[in-house]
């Protein structure tokens, strides 16, 4: 019973909050509602017994990602209302609506089958974190490590893109060329 209430509550709230995220003209509202929505999504995860996922969701999304966005927002000075000219909102709503309808139709299909055996079943009496840990560090160790590389890539990318060295572009700098040319001539 509590699951039903929680589900509907969370559903309504997330949908509402994400709608705000998408429709609001104010970046701050949008971001706040996004953060709130993500918190509520972690609620879904808890309902579904994916405790570890819920925690990760909270830490990564609500913590790290939101913090990043906040810094970015400050950098971009985006606290004022954003002016967006939407030329054809009819198309957008039509597309959104159609995609919703079709996706709902897809998911309304009898996707679930009892015949399917879980490959990596959850174990009774074992905590979710423990279960996840075992699968993550056996079966999914490689993706996990690749994800590490991916994060490294993201880090390097973030650092060099935001770095000072990007301010002066060699690509467009004719002087840099002249310099090299003179060096060559000197030789």
């Amino acid at each position: 019973m509590y699951e039903i209430i929680a589900f509907y509550l969370f559903s309504a709230l997330t949908i509402g909050l994400f709608l705000i995220t998408v429709m609001s003209k104010n970046v701050l509202y949008a971001m706040t509602s996004l953060a709130a929505g993500m918190v509520l999504i972690s609620g879904f995860f808890f309902i579904l017994g994916a405790d570890f996922l819920g925690v990760v969701q909270l830490i990564v999304y609500v913590g790290a990602v939101m913090a990043l966005y906040s810094f970015a927002m400050m950098f971009f000075d985006a606290t004022r209302d954003i002016k967006e000219k939407n030329t054809n909102s009819a198309l957008i709503f039509l597309l959104g609506g159609l995609s919703a309808v079709v996706l709902v139709l897809i998911f309304a299909a009898p996707i679930h089958s009892d015949a399917i055996q879980a490959l990596y079943p959850m174990h009774e009496g074992v905590g979710n974190a423990q279960d996840v840990g075992i699968v993550l560090f056996t079966k999914y160790l490689v993706p996990f490590e690749v994800a590490a590389v991916m994060l490294l890539v993201a880090m390097i990318a973030g650092i060099i893109l935001a770095g000072k060295k990007m301010d002066q572009s060699l690509t467009e700098d004719m002087a840099a060329d002249d310099e090299i040319m003179t060096q060559k001539d000197a030789k």
Partner: protein, 100 residues
């Protein structure tokens, strides 16, 4: 009793909301928000399916999606920063020097 379908439908709706946001947004930062919404929608679906199959793979997927979303934010914001330094704006409509 809440069935799998319910979760999936919620996921579908949120996904569509995200899609609408992607289509609607002209501010790149806000546009990124919308992509986050879409990925979160997928996460709900994975967690739900995982739950109903009693299988951990879905949670793994969701876990990696979170990681990917985070890295995307990092790179995306990095690009936005250089872009903002150059253009002084995050409006997509200012960003059409290449076309045709």
């Amino acid at each position: 009793m809440i069935g799998l379908t319910h979760y999936l439908i919620v996921s579908a709706l949120i996904f569509s909301i995200g899609l609408m946001g992607v289509l609607r947004r002209r501010n790149l930062l806000m546009l990124f928000f919308a992509t986050e919404v879409m990925l979160n929608a997928v996460n709900i679906a994975f967690a739900a399916i995982s739950h109903y199959y009693n299988d951990l793979t879905g949670q793994m997927f969701a876990f990696f999606i979170i990681a990917i979303a985070a890295s995307e934010v990092a790179v995306g914001l990095g690009i936005l920063i250089v872009l903002y330094k150059k253009y002084g704006s995050l409006d997509l409509d200012d960003l059409a020097s290449m076309k045709g």
